[in-house]
Symmetry: C2
Subunit: 244 residues, 2 copies
């Protein structure tokens, strides 16, 4: 069997990569992935063959990686964050049945929910949801229903893909769902842009302010629960509800 | 300012640690933490001073780490998984105001949701919730409400602390909340025990089977969404709802 590693490299540079992720890329003959992510690692392995595809060509990318492995080379498919969170692990496993010589191993990485949380303080200290606002593959009603359930359940909510050119109003819509469900306009929220990369920025703000905020697709957004607090410049959710 | 690093070391051994986590422990004069976690790293740094406290003595542990930093030493507080997910980042930041000489940096790690998901396949490929069944610091009604919202929102749900001696029936209760909300008894679920450590075990099973399963506190449980599938021996959630 030929190995295809699905490697989560974390949010940015080398500092966030696990030893296991490094070892998998080391063993690979070919590094595959979305151009931007492969660019983050190819400097570490200048001698390796690379295969990249632009954004939105995910299925083509997956098939190519599986074909290269099927033909006998060891492949590392490089994903930002964790390969199993809105990454390539799912599509690869769905296609795997067609490539009988390939053995897949998912190498977990630090996903934006936790790397972004670390920048803001400790917003995810208690139960949380992760929701993507991208409606490319998911009907908007499904996304809205989940936002509503996250609001009603008083979860801390981490939002991936909060915006894009075509979806510039989606974050406002999401905030309004929380407000309509009774979450206070003063709820502590935060966002982090370019986590772990050049140009990292972050902000702690209220839900009411977040609804008016312009963020881009490289931003991860955090909506606090009713218990989340601002301590100094940090966003912190207490671990529990009882007095300590 | 003296530095206190909150270091997420991932689920187990060295392979899951990021370069940044290693660098923080390297810089520390003292390694603090729950005995079991410090034992996982002290072999890497045999020369370092260590301070450990047993389970449930978290606040004492945090105060001690802050005191050592306040007095001038660099401290690494070692947490399993990610320090910001049911870890020590919250309590440390809540106490920080009392220790004016200390500067805290959270170093994110691979949390059980994603390291467990990697073992099972790709269960977290779409929107998900993370819920702890521990009612030590959270009223049971709050936990039940969240499980219900996770079920109604058709989230994939990752359950931390699914069981303990005193809570041996809680996982069954959680499964019943999903069943009562209309989630099919055939829903694909999974669990992983001792992720990344000696004795790692995992199983993919149905929701109806999960309700009868005995798991321990070292196990992370995954309840699929209505779209989650079993492919071979893997648990996989498709990325979207539209035909590819």
């Amino acid at each position: 069997m030929n190995k295809l590693y699905l490697v989560g490299i974390g949010p940015g540079g080398e500092a966030f990569m696990t030893a296991q992720a490094r070892a998998a890329m080391e063993k690979a003959d070919v590094l595959c992935g979305y151009t931007v992510y492969v660019d983050l690692v190819k400097g570490l392995y200048p001698e390796k063959e690379v295969f990249t595809t632009p954004m939105k060509r995910e299925i083509e990318r997956c098939r190519k990686a599986l074909e290269i492995a099927q033909e006998g080379k060891t492949v590392a498919m490089v994903c930002s964050g964790d390969a199993g969170v809105y990454g390539m692990a799912g599509p690869i496993l769905e296609l795997l049945g067609e490539y009988p010589n390939v053995d897949v191993e998912v190498v977990p990485g630090v996903t934006s929910a936790t790397s972004g949380a670390a920048v803001l303080g400790a917003p995810l200290m208690h139960d949380f949801c992760v929701i993507s606002l991208s409606d490319l593959l998911t009907p908007m009603e499904k996304i809205e229903k989940r936002l509503e359930c996250a609001a009603v359940g008083d979860f801390v909510t981490c939002i991936y893909n909060p915006s894009s050119k075509k979806r510039s109003t989606y974050l406002e819509k999401a905030c309004n769902i929380f407000l309509d469900a009774g979450r206070s306009p003063e709820t502590v929220c935060g966002w982090v842009k370019n986590i772990g990369r050049e140009g990292q920025e972050s902000k702690v703000l209220t839900l009411k302010e977040l609804a008016k905020e312009q963020v881009d697709m490289f931003t991860t957004v955090f909506i606090g629960s009713s218990a989340t607090k601002k301590l100094g410049d940090k966003m912190v959710t207490p671990r529990g509800y009882e007095a300590k």
